[in-house]
Protein backbone atom coordinates (compact mmCIF):
# COMPACT_ATOMS: atom_id res chain seq x y z
CA UNK A 1 0.00 0.00 0.00
CA UNK A 2 2.89 2.39 -0.61
CA UNK A 3 3.53 4.67 -3.53
CA UNK A 4 5.96 2.07 -4.93
CA UNK A 5 3.10 -0.21 -5.76
CA UNK A 6 1.02 2.07 -7.94
CA UNK A 7 0.30 0.65 -11.42
CA UNK A 8 1.84 2.64 -14.24
CA UNK A 9 0.32 4.41 -17.24
CA UNK A 10 0.28 1.28 -19.44
CA UNK A 11 -1.04 -1.03 -16.77
CA UNK A 12 -4.27 -2.97 -16.80
CA UNK A 13 -5.53 -0.59 -14.13
CA UNK A 14 -4.93 2.43 -16.36
CA UNK A 15 -6.79 0.66 -19.17
CA UNK A 16 -9.71 -0.14 -16.87
CA UNK A 17 -10.00 3.54 -16.06
CA UNK A 18 -9.96 4.43 -19.76
CA UNK A 19 -12.55 1.74 -20.50
CA UNK A 20 -14.85 3.04 -17.78
CA UNK A 21 -14.44 6.69 -18.71
CA UNK A 22 -14.99 6.11 -22.41
CA UNK A 23 -18.15 4.11 -21.78
CA UNK A 24 -19.61 6.74 -19.46
CA UNK A 25 -18.79 9.53 -21.93
CA UNK A 26 -20.33 7.60 -24.82
CA UNK A 27 -23.48 6.98 -22.87
CA UNK A 28 -23.72 10.69 -22.16
CA UNK A 29 -23.67 10.14 -18.41
CA UNK A 30 -20.71 12.41 -17.90
CA UNK A 31 -19.00 15.21 -19.79
CA UNK A 32 -15.31 15.83 -20.24
CA UNK A 33 -15.64 19.31 -18.78
CA UNK A 34 -16.90 17.79 -15.53
CA UNK A 35 -13.93 15.44 -15.34
CA UNK A 36 -11.49 18.26 -16.05
CA UNK A 37 -13.09 20.50 -13.44
CA UNK A 38 -12.87 17.84 -10.76
CA UNK A 39 -9.24 17.10 -11.54
CA UNK A 40 -8.37 20.78 -11.51
CA UNK A 41 -10.08 21.26 -8.17
CA UNK A 42 -8.29 18.40 -6.47
CA UNK A 43 -4.94 18.87 -8.12
CA UNK A 44 -4.64 22.65 -7.96
CA UNK A 45 -7.24 24.35 -5.85
CA UNK A 46 -7.32 22.23 -2.72
CA UNK A 47 -4.27 21.95 -0.53
CA UNK A 48 -2.81 22.48 2.92
CA UNK A 49 -2.20 26.17 2.20
CA UNK A 50 -5.88 26.63 3.13
CA UNK A 51 -5.46 25.00 6.51
CA UNK A 52 -2.25 26.94 7.07
CA UNK A 53 -4.18 30.20 6.66
CA UNK A 54 -6.70 29.04 9.27
CA UNK A 55 -3.92 28.20 11.70
CA UNK A 56 -2.07 31.46 11.16
CA UNK A 57 -5.24 33.43 11.67
CA UNK A 58 -6.01 31.54 14.88
CA UNK A 59 -2.50 32.25 16.14
CA UNK A 60 -2.82 35.99 15.53
CA UNK A 61 -6.50 36.61 16.26
CA UNK A 62 -7.72 35.30 19.64
CA UNK A 63 -11.39 35.92 18.83
CA UNK A 64 -11.09 33.91 15.65
CA UNK A 65 -9.36 31.14 17.56
CA UNK A 66 -12.27 30.99 20.02
CA UNK A 67 -14.79 30.78 17.19
CA UNK A 68 -12.68 28.15 15.44
CA UNK A 69 -12.56 25.88 18.47
CA UNK A 70 -16.26 26.46 19.23
CA UNK A 71 -17.56 25.86 15.71
CA UNK A 72 -14.97 24.78 13.19
CA UNK A 73 -17.43 24.57 10.29
CA UNK A 74 -18.56 28.19 10.61
CA UNK A 75 -15.11 29.63 11.34
CA UNK A 76 -13.52 27.85 8.39
CA UNK A 77 -16.41 28.93 6.16
CA UNK A 78 -15.45 32.54 7.01
CA UNK A 79 -12.26 31.97 5.05
CA UNK A 80 -14.17 31.36 1.82
CA UNK A 81 -12.53 28.13 0.70
CA UNK A 82 -14.36 25.77 -1.64
CA UNK A 83 -16.49 23.36 0.33
CA UNK A 84 -15.94 19.89 -1.00
CA UNK A 85 -17.79 17.30 0.96
CA UNK A 86 -20.25 19.40 2.95
CA UNK A 87 -18.47 18.14 6.01
CA UNK A 88 -18.67 19.31 9.57
CA UNK A 89 -15.28 20.52 10.73
CA UNK A 90 -13.95 20.20 14.25
CA UNK A 91 -10.62 21.79 15.08
CA UNK A 92 -8.67 20.40 18.02
CA UNK A 93 -5.95 22.40 19.70
CA UNK A 94 -2.48 21.15 20.59
CA UNK A 95 -1.03 22.55 23.81
CA UNK A 96 1.73 21.59 26.21
CA UNK A 97 -0.83 19.42 28.02
CA UNK A 98 -2.68 17.84 25.07
CA UNK A 99 -1.47 16.52 21.73
CA UNK A 100 -4.01 15.51 19.09
CA UNK A 101 -3.60 13.09 16.18
CA UNK A 102 -6.09 12.47 13.37
CA UNK A 103 -6.63 9.18 11.53
CA UNK A 104 -9.36 7.30 9.68
CA UNK A 105 -8.90 3.64 10.55
CA UNK A 106 -11.78 2.41 8.38
CA UNK A 107 -10.87 4.02 5.06
CA UNK A 108 -8.94 7.32 4.79
CA UNK A 109 -11.35 10.16 5.44
CA UNK A 110 -9.51 13.47 5.50
CA UNK A 111 -10.43 17.19 5.72
CA UNK A 112 -10.06 17.89 1.99
CA UNK A 113 -11.32 21.46 2.17
CA UNK A 114 -8.50 22.56 4.44
CA UNK A 115 -5.75 20.07 3.72
CA UNK A 116 -6.40 18.81 0.17
CA UNK A 117 -6.08 15.11 -0.62
CA UNK A 118 -4.23 12.99 1.94
CA UNK A 119 -0.68 11.73 1.38
CA UNK A 120 -0.17 8.03 0.62
CA UNK A 121 1.19 7.29 4.09
CA UNK A 122 -2.02 8.54 5.74
CA UNK A 123 -4.03 6.09 3.62
CA UNK A 124 -1.66 3.19 4.26
CA UNK A 125 -2.31 0.18 6.48
CA UNK A 126 0.68 0.88 8.79
CA UNK A 127 -0.69 4.29 9.73
CA UNK A 128 -4.38 3.37 9.83
CA UNK A 129 -3.66 0.39 12.06
CA UNK A 130 -1.00 1.85 14.34
CA UNK A 131 -2.33 5.38 14.94
CA UNK A 132 -5.25 3.92 16.89
CA UNK A 133 -3.28 1.60 19.13
CA UNK A 134 0.20 3.12 19.34
CA UNK A 135 0.02 6.81 18.50
CA UNK A 136 3.21 7.51 20.48
CA UNK A 137 5.00 4.97 18.31
CA UNK A 138 3.71 6.80 15.24
CA UNK A 139 4.98 10.15 16.54
CA UNK A 140 8.33 8.48 17.22
CA UNK A 141 8.53 7.34 13.61
CA UNK A 142 7.93 10.92 12.52
CA UNK A 143 10.61 12.14 14.91
CA UNK A 144 8.09 14.07 16.97
CA UNK A 145 8.62 14.41 20.72
CA UNK A 146 5.86 14.86 23.23
CA UNK A 147 6.14 14.64 27.02
CA UNK A 148 5.29 11.44 28.89
CA UNK A 149 2.95 13.67 30.87
CA UNK A 150 1.22 15.02 27.79
CA UNK A 151 -2.21 13.59 27.11
CA UNK A 152 -2.42 12.14 23.60
CA UNK A 153 -5.88 12.22 21.96
CA UNK A 154 -6.47 10.32 18.76
CA UNK A 155 -9.48 11.25 16.61
CA UNK A 156 -10.75 8.43 14.39
CA UNK A 157 -12.66 10.19 11.59
CA UNK A 158 -15.17 7.42 11.08
CA UNK A 159 -18.27 9.56 10.42
CA UNK A 160 -18.82 12.73 8.37
CA UNK A 161 -17.10 15.02 10.83
CA UNK A 162 -13.62 15.97 9.71
CA UNK A 163 -10.88 16.83 12.16
CA UNK A 164 -7.99 19.22 11.85
CA UNK A 165 -5.29 19.96 14.40
CA UNK A 166 -4.48 23.51 15.42
CA UNK A 167 -0.77 23.01 16.14
CA UNK A 168 1.14 24.95 18.78
CA UNK A 169 2.70 28.17 17.60
CA UNK A 170 6.46 27.65 17.61
CA UNK A 171 8.89 29.86 19.53
CA UNK A 172 10.79 32.76 17.91
CA UNK A 173 7.83 33.78 15.75
CA UNK A 174 6.72 36.86 17.68
CA UNK A 175 7.56 39.28 14.90
CA UNK A 176 5.81 37.38 12.10
CA UNK A 177 2.49 38.35 10.56
CA UNK A 178 -0.21 35.85 9.59
CA UNK A 179 1.09 35.49 6.04
CA UNK A 180 4.60 34.65 7.21
CA UNK A 181 3.28 32.32 9.89
CA UNK A 182 1.17 30.42 7.36
CA UNK A 183 4.36 29.60 5.44
CA UNK A 184 5.63 27.64 8.45
CA UNK A 185 2.55 25.47 8.89
CA UNK A 186 2.84 22.01 7.34
CA UNK A 187 0.18 19.50 6.41
CA UNK A 188 1.76 17.02 8.82
CA UNK A 189 1.36 19.45 11.73
CA UNK A 190 -2.36 19.78 10.98
CA UNK A 191 -2.73 15.99 11.00
CA UNK A 192 -0.82 15.89 14.26
CA UNK A 193 2.18 13.73 13.34
CA UNK A 194 4.55 16.70 13.53
CA UNK A 195 4.89 20.03 15.26
CA UNK A 196 5.46 23.30 13.46
CA UNK A 197 9.17 24.13 13.42
CA UNK A 198 10.52 27.54 14.32
CA UNK A 199 11.97 29.50 11.43
CA UNK A 200 15.76 29.17 11.01
Amino acid sequence: MSSNDIPGPDSETALRVKALESLLLEKGLIETSAIDELIDMFENRLGPWNGAKVVARAWTDPDYKDRLLQNGTAAIAEMGFEAVQGEEMVVVENTAEVHNLVVCTLCSCFPWATLGLPPVWYKSAPFRARAARDPRGVLDEFGTQIGADTELRVWDSNAEVRYMVLPERPVRTEGLNAEALAELVTRDSMIGVSKVASPD
Binding site: L29, D156, E160
Partner: protein, 116 residues
Protein backbone atom coordinates in the same frame (compact mmCIF):
# COMPACT_ATOMS: atom_id res chain seq x y z
CA UNK B 1 -29.91 9.13 -14.30
CA UNK B 2 -28.65 12.60 -14.96
CA UNK B 3 -25.74 13.78 -17.07
CA UNK B 4 -22.89 14.92 -14.90
CA UNK B 5 -21.82 18.14 -16.56
CA UNK B 6 -19.90 21.14 -15.28
CA UNK B 7 -22.99 22.60 -13.62
CA UNK B 8 -23.68 19.45 -11.61
CA UNK B 9 -20.10 19.28 -10.44
CA UNK B 10 -20.01 22.96 -9.51
CA UNK B 11 -23.17 22.65 -7.46
CA UNK B 12 -21.92 19.68 -5.49
CA UNK B 13 -21.65 20.27 -1.79
CA UNK B 14 -21.03 23.97 -2.08
CA UNK B 15 -22.35 24.48 1.43
CA UNK B 16 -20.09 23.65 4.35
CA UNK B 17 -21.87 21.49 6.88
CA UNK B 18 -24.37 20.27 4.28
CA UNK B 19 -24.18 16.65 5.39
CA UNK B 20 -25.60 17.37 8.83
CA UNK B 21 -29.40 17.17 8.82
CA UNK B 22 -31.41 20.15 9.94
CA UNK B 23 -33.89 18.03 11.88
CA UNK B 24 -35.18 18.25 15.40
CA UNK B 25 -34.49 14.91 17.01
CA UNK B 26 -34.39 14.43 20.77
CA UNK B 27 -30.95 13.18 21.75
CA UNK B 28 -30.71 10.14 23.99
CA UNK B 29 -27.30 11.12 25.38
CA UNK B 30 -25.44 14.23 26.44
CA UNK B 31 -21.79 15.14 27.07
CA UNK B 32 -20.54 13.43 30.21
CA UNK B 33 -22.73 10.34 29.85
CA UNK B 34 -21.07 6.94 30.10
CA UNK B 35 -21.96 4.70 27.18
CA UNK B 36 -21.05 1.28 25.89
CA UNK B 37 -20.55 0.58 22.20
CA UNK B 38 -22.67 -2.31 20.99
CA UNK B 39 -21.30 -5.62 19.82
CA UNK B 40 -22.34 -5.13 16.21
CA UNK B 41 -21.05 -7.74 13.77
CA UNK B 42 -22.37 -7.25 10.30
CA UNK B 43 -21.49 -8.03 6.73
CA UNK B 44 -23.48 -4.95 5.85
CA UNK B 45 -22.01 -1.49 6.18
CA UNK B 46 -21.23 0.01 9.56
CA UNK B 47 -18.94 2.69 10.86
CA UNK B 48 -18.45 1.17 14.29
CA UNK B 49 -14.78 0.08 14.38
CA UNK B 50 -14.36 -3.41 15.80
CA UNK B 51 -11.82 -2.23 18.39
CA UNK B 52 -14.61 -0.27 20.13
CA UNK B 53 -17.20 -3.06 20.36
CA UNK B 54 -18.39 -3.60 23.94
CA UNK B 55 -16.08 -0.87 25.22
CA UNK B 56 -17.13 1.86 27.62
CA UNK B 57 -16.54 5.51 26.85
CA UNK B 58 -17.74 8.98 27.72
CA UNK B 59 -19.72 11.29 25.47
CA UNK B 60 -17.66 14.42 24.70
CA UNK B 61 -19.69 16.20 22.06
CA UNK B 62 -23.04 15.97 20.35
CA UNK B 63 -22.35 16.62 16.66
CA UNK B 64 -26.01 16.92 15.77
CA UNK B 65 -28.26 14.81 13.57
CA UNK B 66 -26.94 12.70 10.73
CA UNK B 67 -28.32 9.85 8.64
CA UNK B 68 -27.21 6.34 9.60
CA UNK B 69 -24.84 4.87 6.98
CA UNK B 70 -25.78 1.28 7.89
CA UNK B 71 -29.42 1.98 7.03
CA UNK B 72 -28.71 3.79 3.77
CA UNK B 73 -26.77 0.84 2.46
CA UNK B 74 -29.25 -1.81 3.58
CA UNK B 75 -32.12 0.12 2.00
CA UNK B 76 -33.71 1.08 5.31
CA UNK B 77 -33.87 4.81 4.76
CA UNK B 78 -31.94 7.53 6.55
CA UNK B 79 -32.85 6.85 10.20
CA UNK B 80 -31.71 10.33 11.30
CA UNK B 81 -30.21 10.34 14.79
CA UNK B 82 -27.64 12.07 16.92
CA UNK B 83 -23.96 11.47 16.30
CA UNK B 84 -21.63 11.77 19.28
CA UNK B 85 -17.91 12.06 19.79
CA UNK B 86 -17.16 9.36 22.38
CA UNK B 87 -13.85 9.18 24.24
CA UNK B 88 -12.40 5.79 25.12
CA UNK B 89 -9.33 5.60 27.32
CA UNK B 90 -6.37 3.83 25.77
CA UNK B 91 -6.39 1.35 28.64
CA UNK B 92 -10.04 0.50 28.06
CA UNK B 93 -9.21 -0.41 24.47
CA UNK B 94 -5.66 -1.72 24.54
CA UNK B 95 -5.11 -3.06 28.03
CA UNK B 96 -3.18 -2.09 31.15
CA UNK B 97 0.09 -1.52 29.29
CA UNK B 98 -1.33 1.46 27.39
CA UNK B 99 -0.39 4.98 28.53
CA UNK B 100 -2.84 6.00 31.24
CA UNK B 101 -3.50 9.52 29.95
CA UNK B 102 -4.14 8.67 26.32
CA UNK B 103 -7.48 8.22 24.59
CA UNK B 104 -9.16 7.78 21.28
CA UNK B 105 -12.25 9.68 20.21
CA UNK B 106 -14.68 8.00 17.83
CA UNK B 107 -17.85 9.40 16.28
CA UNK B 108 -20.70 7.05 17.06
CA UNK B 109 -24.36 7.13 16.14
CA UNK B 110 -26.99 6.60 18.80
CA UNK B 111 -27.79 3.18 17.28
CA UNK B 112 -24.27 2.05 18.14
CA UNK B 113 -24.57 2.93 21.84
CA UNK B 114 -26.19 1.72 25.04
CA UNK B 115 -26.33 3.56 28.36
CA UNK B 116 -24.14 2.31 31.16
Amino acid sequence: MRTVDLEVVRSLYKLPGAVRMKLDVVPKFKPGDRVKARNIHTSGHTRLPRYARDKVGIIQLDHGVFHLPDARVSGQGDQPQHLYSVRFSARELWGAEAPCKDSINIDLWENYLDSV
